[in-house]
Subunit: 196 residues, 2 copies
DNA sequence: CGAAGCTGATGACATTTGTCAGTACCGGAC
DNA sequence: GTCCGGTACTGACAAATGTCATCAGCTTCG
């Protein structure tokens, strides 16, 4: 019997998944959480064999939670972004599937992961293989992350403890590297690639 | 027996919802679709009594599909945006619930809607009551929509058949009305309010 | 009818932003 | 040891952007 921990911020979906997976003869859901921190705390108490986490769970994402868990983790996500798969695998995630996966297939993936194997959705894998390595330096990613919140340069400078001119330089190089016209487009492009 | 049509672009969720709702004694799922257009086409063939649609289904949204359906519609959404509820009710939608609703509650809502009543989630309703009427003129909304795609002003002008100066004026008034610092923030704010 | 509001435009102006050149320090690779 | 890349800053310049005043035609509402 595989003891399963489920985490997703949407009750409708989490409940539905729990009900369906519980129907499988060899799987039982022993815990449910609405965010990553709760999931980690719960895992300490209920000792599940496998965790299924949603990638998008404010606050913080599923990768952060996966890093803190020692058990095999399957990440479920709505929209694929190439770089995210790489980060997820780096965090020790063993399964990576889109929400377009039927529940029966998910059960089979859980069994595989529990058996020590890995599973990555084919489309995601192809996507990731075509992926470029991130050309951005850590600081460039920092300012792009701040840009994504819609902040003006002065605020970005304050938030990152940099001079405004320095921020503009980083943004300028990032804009050039990403071949776009302004920092907003750069932030969007970097996000879509999963780089920030 | 209530004949139900389900539409959601995520198979995992749609399948799980279908399975759970089918367990209800008086509900049977007679059709599933992954987007609004398919849902409308399918409704013409299978003649459901009630449709449950996801609000976010590219291409087009659930409201567009709801407008074309003559049967009672329940919209399910991930994140509430105040203005969207108003638009949905204007389109004749009878139920409006977040994805944080348990499936059992959703079944009860489907029964209510089938019985001719309306159901709107309490939080959404409170949100909508606190809502400001949209202060933006149609043209202001146009340029904000274009801004949201990340276009520079010249392209917005070309796309809307306006002079660049005029576009800047509309953006300026929109920025002032929304009390933000630039057009990107304005576009984001307007979107979060459900105005564009 | 007049007032008000939306539309569409122009020109002037200040600010913000993106670009570029140049400087400096640090750490790792060859 | 030198070169390279990342970090951090400054100053200068041009382009994009936001603001404001002003105009005119049009519709709608009181």
């Amino acid at each position: 019997m595989i003891r399963l921990l489920l985490a997703d911020d949407e009750v409708l979906i989490r409940g539905a998944m729990a009900a369906l997976l519980d129907l499988e003869a060899d799987i039982c859901v022993v815990g449910e959480a609405a965010d990553g921190e709760t999931a980690v705390a719960l895992a300490g108490r209920v000792r599940p064999d496998v965790a299924v986490l949603d990638l998008e769970m404010p606050p913080g994402d599923g990768i952060a939670a996966a890093e803190q868990l020692t058990i095999p983790v399957v990440l479920v996500t709505r929209h694929a972004r190439p770089g995210v798969l790489r980060r997820a695998l780096g965090a020790g995630v063993r399964g990576f599937v889109p929400k377009t996966t039927p529940a029966s297939a998910l059960a089979e993936i859980i069994r595989q992961v529990h058996g020590g194997r890995r599973y990555v959705d084919q489309d995601f894998a192809a996507y990731a293989l075509s992926e470029q390595p991130c050309p951005l330096s850590p600081r460039e990613r920092d300012v792009l992350r701040a840009t994504r919140q819609g902040k003006p340069i002065k605020e970005i400078a304050a938030a990152t403890h940099l001079a405004p001119g320095t921020v503009r330089n980083y943004l300028s190089t990032a804009i050039a590297k990403l071949a776009v016209n302004d920092r907003h487009a750069a932030a969007r492009a970097a996000w879509e690639q999963g780089w920030i």
